[in-house]
């Protein structure tokens, strides 16, 4: 039967894959393998979204992140000369990095467990239509602001990458 037990079990399985992939991404000293593991991590998260009835978000995750951001990071890897044939050297800023990483990690754990998260309501039948309607009504301002942010992102990207002046 496809009851909530099965749902939780599958969710946990994807979570396990995500954790393993994330650890692999952080622990490997080959930059390329780290990026591939990151891609696997994103795919596992997409699976979790789908299980939670957010099918649209799950596919966006694959479309934008796996098909877009991972390619971008790979391009970045190919632009730089580091970590290509030989493993990365261990950074001398290890200690400071660890402090920052643990602080951010602890803060995220606190945020996840320390808050009174709202319970999920009824899942709408047509998820995409629900989302689209929301963008045009209640979330209209957010929708248009995203447009402006994307515009700013293009300008910023060109300013940084090409050293253009505004």
């Amino acid at each position: 039967m496809l009851d909530s037990d099965v749902q939780i079990a599958l969710f946990a399985a994807f979570g396990g894959i995500a954790v393993i992939a994330a650890l692999a991404a952080v622990l490997t000293r080959y930059l390329l393998r780290s990026i591939v593991a990151f891609g696997a991590f994103l795919t596992a998260i997409a699976g979790q979204f789908y299980i939670l009835a957010a099918d649209f978000v799950a596919l966006i995750q694959i479309f934008v992140y796996v098909g877009g951001v991972v390619v971008l990071i790979l391009f970045a890897l190919m632009l730089s000369a580091v970590g290509q044939k030989h493993p990365l050297a261990v950074s001398e800023h290890r200690g400071l990095g660890a402090v920052v990483a643990y602080a951010v990690g602890g803060w995220l754990v606190w945020a996840a467990f320390g808050q009174d998260l709202p319970k999920a309501g009824q899942v709408p039948g047509e998820t995409v239509a629900f989302l689209g309607r929301a963008f045009l009504d209640q979330q209209l301002v957010a929708f248009e602001v995203i447009g402006i942010i994307l515009l700013a992102a293009v300008v910023a990207a060109l300013v940084i990458v090409r050293g253009e002046r505004l």
Binding site: M1, I62, F75, T127
Partner: protein, 351 residues
């Protein structure tokens, strides 16, 4: 997705009904998670085998058509009119040595062909073969069709990088740069179709066309954008600069040989098939048509489009890299943005 089908479209005998054999309890496949896994696995095997067989047919057809255009005979020796040539080629590829350059990154080298072929085959899940028949009618089927094959871009880049070869590296970079550039106009062309169909499910898409008419009549510009950008996405001539034999020695798969090389080949033909099949579903009413059963109509229409792509390959010269990028960003992207607004007007006029 509930669709009210016109009566004359009901060809129940071509639906999944054949699975309901008297000695099989089909509900079992849909009620249990292991049943669903098995069902998915079964369809995966069926689709993969079908893609393999289709590729063999394509290779033969492509060689014969090219021979015809160039005034040659093409394969003639093995079997009548060379019909067995592809079969022999498959055996040859299977037993060929698998060479991997010593300097290559072993993991990425093995992973890359899989990243190209698996998404291309997985896209078949949402192709609406018959009028009500889709292997699995996802709520967001059309987005699935665009999202899953987009992983291929990573595979191309990895293949070129892993080989440790100048030609492969350049080919991989070019391939994925082209892949991402043409993805945006292509997606925007599909968005206009979604506007008219009112749902992201592939069955709903055919239903909307049954209610109105073929969308190619309402959105001709969208079809042109989709067709050209799709040729670029699947690396077909005139957009095959990433694997141009004469200048890049086959680009990102220069270093691949034997069965591993054939996976790239399989992936390329699989994505050509899904893209053509989806062109039929998006613009030519899928399996809609009189007299003949929908599946037959669907296969016929898809065959025409694939044939067109094959003929193009031997008719047009290829673009230069800078022309290729300019075409995507300076012509097709603005054109598809204008097309979005046009489609809005068409939609208001029709509905």
């Amino acid at each position: 997705m509930e669709v009210n089908w016109p009566d004359w479209l009901n060809f129940d005998w071509l639906d999944l009904g054949w699975l309901e054999l008297p000695w099989v309890d089909t509900n079992w496949f849909h009620d249990n998670w292991y049943g669903l896994l098995l069902l998915g696995f079964f369809w995966g095997v069926v689709v993969f085998t079908m893609v393999g067989a289709l590729t063999a047919v394509y290779v033969y057809v492509e060689r014969k058509v090219s021979a015809r255009i160039q005034g040659r005979l093409g394969p003639m020796e093995t079997g009548p009119h060379g019909l067995l040539q592809t079969l022999v080629d498959v055996v040859k590829l299977a037993v060929k040595e698998d060479v991997r350059p010593a300097a290559a990154d072993a993991l990425a080298f093995r992973l890359a062909p899989l990243l190209v072929v698996v998404p291309a085959v997985m896209a078949f899940v949402v192709v609406p073969f018959g009028v009500p028949m889709v292997i699995r009618d996802l709520n967001v089927g059309i987005l699935y069709f665009l999202a899953v094959p987009s992983v291929t871009g990573v595979g191309l880049l990895l293949a070129g990088w892993a080989s440790y070869d100048n030609y492969s590296f350049l080919g991989g970079l070019r391939a994925s740069a082209q892949f991402i550039s043409y993805e945006i106009p292509r997606t925007l062309a599909v968005v206009t179709v979604v506007m008219l169909s009112g749902s992201l499910s592939s069955a709903g898409l055919i239903g909307a066309q049954a209610d109105t008419t073929w969308f190619v009549l309402l959105l001709p510009l969208s079809f042109v954008i989709y067709a050209v950008t799709t040729l670029a996405e699947v690396n077909r001539v005139p957009f095959d600069i990433p694997e141009a034999e004469s200048e890049l020695v086959a680009g990102f798969h220069t270093e691949y040989s034997g069965f591993r090389w054939s996976l790239f080949f399989l992936g390329e033909y699989a994505s050509l098939t899904t893209a053509s099949a989806f062109a039929v579903a998006l613009f030519f009413g899928g399996g809609l048509g009189p007299v003949l059963p929908p599946v037959v109509w669907f296969v016929l229409k898809t065959a025409v489009i694939v044939f067109f792509a094959v003929v193009l390959r031997f008719t047009l010269p290829r673009f230069r890299q800078d022309q290729l990028m300019a075409l995507a960003w300076k012509y097709f992207l603005p054109l598809s943005l204008v097309n979005l607004l046009l489609a809005g007007l068409v939609m208001k006029a029709v509905f």
